[in-house]
Subunit: 325 residues, 4 copies
């Protein structure tokens, strides 16, 4: 590739009650980098950049954009040109138009997901060794996005062939790909695509340094009256080996707390194939996920109109809701 | 009281396939003290006594007896006399009739549970500092029995007033007790009684030193193909503050792996009352328990006839299965 | 015994700068029950009583008293009579003379340690399930006192024969006892005596629910500039199986954070003998303790005069400082 | 760069008693991939390649070579040409000459360290989800090499400018670099250089998924009589934020068990500078390292002659042994 996407970098979420969201994310142990009347900028304990999560006050919950960091401004330019050449409508966001962010561009990706690419974000002090600020889930860094899309194969092809992502694991029925875990940084994923009504953002994954932080997050959330925010877990996925917990924030945006992972730096690492009928792929162990885990996800916005993107039905279908990955 | 019951000490379970059971309990990290053709004697890592769990090969799964340890042989005698005076049919088991156990007596308790009292068990080396033998759940010691009985109030009265147990926590609807946690050692419980078809043994609780051993137990069980043995959890009960995992052994006997607890040594510790309608009592956080957790339990034997004890319906009833505690 | 001592219950320490002490103990995660101009009352997360640690502003650091809780006021009376009969000078402290405490009496014990016995302390809400307040070391409850005394055998005899303590573990050279771990509650100890210049309080042990809380305490203390307060550990003692960390508070009082322990309820539990020449008794693994861990300890006050009690040299002597236990 | 070094990949160590070494490394939880009369091939739980550690029976302990994995055979060729052009004496190792390894070449690097580059190693099954095999330290993967060299600045320049490594952290006195942490994979390091008598290999770092595995490793090692193998730790470095434990294997080779780390993927991550006089750089908390941690390290072999490489004194000197990093 003529451009180098480094990693999943941030999500911009619309929330209906910024104060309510703030209480929730503070409890999880996110670090507040900056707060103003309309938005909050959060980062994890090890992050040396201004934010990895932006919450914006808005009339309706939605995903404004998910953003990837690139190696340089030149990479951003080359990627933008690549998209233009492919017929994409690129929307440039000039430096200064977004807090702490350099110039960027946004597109609606092949599945309709609003995606942004940038190379520069203001840097700040890491809190990694400020252990007195560790609390809740001790969120360490953003890890990945998980998107529900109607045609996983199509998304897979685009991200792998056009953007240079590599596949670590995938679900298949020998004919079609039901779900795929794709990465740029050498972890299991920066983005996963699952079969379903889309485009929607299923969840944002944040990495924790240990399993006990995840257990403690459950305890703290329950103490604070957020027990209903715990949607699924703790449990372990076969796929990705994630020790996971899925939460729903006050607007229903889904957050995954995640420990596990492994190094995927080597080109001879063969993508792990999971059969769609293998129950351990999704739940190595743990309670059955509730239907809403499969059915509900955050709607996404059009980067040009700011309207909600209409959903399409998936190309692959089975009766039970559990067959999305 | 004229007698001193120290603690819950062991359970004797009948299993249909000793070898199958052995693979399961070995995986959990129980220490095999002794194995013969018909039975296996297990103990936890810190236990200095011969066993806390006996599995016996039998045609049908059942609970032969649950046993409490007393301070001295004289205490055993005085308690036996007490039972005789109360009209109980006491069955003496002479020394030598049970592996590693001194003399004991058995009765059918007020709820029909087969209960045994003894003062002497052969002592063995502790494995507490033999860390190379730690594996699976790193089971440390037996903690408690949980019994499903038709009349919790009646069981409560007997154990508190006649046997000297103290109550740490209980569930009530302001009129009746639905469940009660009773202890002799200064922990949350040696025995709990829950409202339901009984007499049955709902589970045996074993104490773990840390939460990660419980998570690792899930991983190991899933690795070994026992994922269906994980019935409920991980989660936390409001009641007892237990960080819990419920397993079903190959015969359906239920084992709780348990971390949490607190010291209940003080007479001014007021029993904690939980309202039957408070959802946090049962599940502080964690997935909803499956119906079988509420409906299924191990049948118990008559200590005199060795026949299965017939079940009675509970005195307190609600429609949903979740109302047993 | 005609009286029932339940457990080690609290320590009253004199500190030179209450504010400096407060920052330190708050960082460790102690819960402040009450603070006034001259003193702070702390408790652990699971404690349902007003306090287990009292800090009092004073010109010089000292141990005012260590206190044991008894089963009833009658037990307190009987024990006081017992001490009087033995020729001890009993000092009564009437109800109301100490914050949150009922009546008590104090004596100088056989080694010169200021010891108090009481049956009643004001009860408060437990914080055990208020997980949002967990921080630092997540101190759960007081566990034990460790006293350095000139004649361990003498202290041992008194506590075992006169007060009804039981021995869990001890260090011996086949002729003499160098150190002994004694308990009333069924844990490894409520009090330990070590050979050395005394009477002094070597440390107060607080129990943690897990090992990671101890590691996190190190991280937090180092973050806050208290790295020099970490005197020894983390490591594991052979004796007691403690996973330990020793801290020195701003006045030099030593606090042990402690996880491990085991149940000592059974009369057939044989005290574990460690040879004075067995290096694993003290350090199962971990760095060598600094000399100050062996040489330094808190001076104690006379309960009648409030003067510092003069030190005596130990009856057993070896050249190296490491031979105190 | 015209070549892509992926990561630190394996070390080949000479040991005097293969059986003794095997007992030690097995206890740590390394997975044996292959064992023959003269050598053992170990890997970590997540590693999909044949080995990351090779032990070879030899008359004297030594480091035969440390090896880096490259992206492709073409990268290997281009790097070899680069070394030849720089005047290095390249020694090719043809495919088949080393178990499980494709072709490679070895050089003596600018500091005299024997280094190897390869692109192909036989792949094997990962054990990541075979949790029943987890034991000891649950070693997950190789992480880094730490080399003691006489001229850190020179090594730094070569690895950064010639080989494309990036610096995450370094120690400086404002004039000179005393130590530097360099990476290719986006972690803190693949290799570190510390000032001292060299060339020597100070240690090989293996990554653990959690802190408790490190504590358990101490317990297991002590149980098995290896307490003297624990040289330093547990503790936390300021540098790299490592929660560390240093072990000496039966031949004195030093192994670091390591948890912590952070993502270093971003080009705007500024290398963290630590002042040589800042005591927290080396020990954020933890006991002082023994002198042997500073003075002792494994001798390395000449890749051409197989003789031991003679040591040179460091260019930077201070009196105390603790000034090597």
């Amino acid at each position: 590739m003529a451009f180098d996407i480094i990693r999943s970098a941030r999500a911009v979420l619309h929330v209906k009650d910024l104060n309510a969201s703030r209480v929730f994310y503070d409890a999880l142990g996110f670090i507040e980098t900056e707060v103003d009347e309309h938005s909050i900028y959060y980062r994890g304990l090890e992050e040396h950049v201004h934010h990895s999560l932006v919450l914006k006050q808005a009339p309706e919950p939605a995903v404004e954009v998910i953003s990837y960091k690139m190696m340089s401004e030149e990479d951003v330019d080359r990627l933008a040109s690549h998209f233009v050449a492919k017929g994409y409508d690129v929307k440039w966001m000039e430096e200064g138009s977004q807090t702490a962010l350099g110039r960027s561009f946004r597109i609606q990706d092949i599945s309709g997901i609003p995606v942004e690419f940038f190379a520069t974000m203001k840097t700040v002090d890491r809190m990694l060794q400020r252990f007195e600020h560790y609390k809740g889930a001790r969120v360490q860094r953003i890890d990945h996005f998980n998107c529900m899309v109607p045609d996983v194969q199509r998304a897979y092809n685009f991200y792998v062939e056009e953007l240079g992502f590599r596949c670590s694991e995938y679900t298949s029925d020998d004919e079609s790909i039901w779900a795929a875990w794709l990465h740029r940084k050498p972890s299991v994923h920066d983005v996963a695509f699952m079969n379903g009504d889309g485009p929607r953002l299923h969840h944002i994954g944040f990495w924790l340094n240990d399993q006990l932080s995840l257990i403690h997050a459950c305890d703290v959330l329950a103490s604070l009256g957020y027990v209903d925010s715990i949607e699924r877990g703790p449990g372990r996925h076969g796929l990705s080996n994630a020790f996971f917990l899925y939460l729903r924030d006050p607007d229903g945006h889904r957050i995954e707390l995640y420990n596990g992972d492994y190094l995927t730096s080597d080109p001879d690492f063969k993508p792990i194939k999971w059969d769609i009928n293998d129950p351990t792929r999704q739940t190595f162990w743990g309670h059955e996920a509730p239907d809403r885990w499969f059915n509900e996800a955050s709607l996404v916005n059009n980067v040009h109109t700011n309207d909600t993107v209409a959903l399409k039905e998936p190309t692959l279908k089975r009766k039970k809701p559990t067959f999305v990955i």
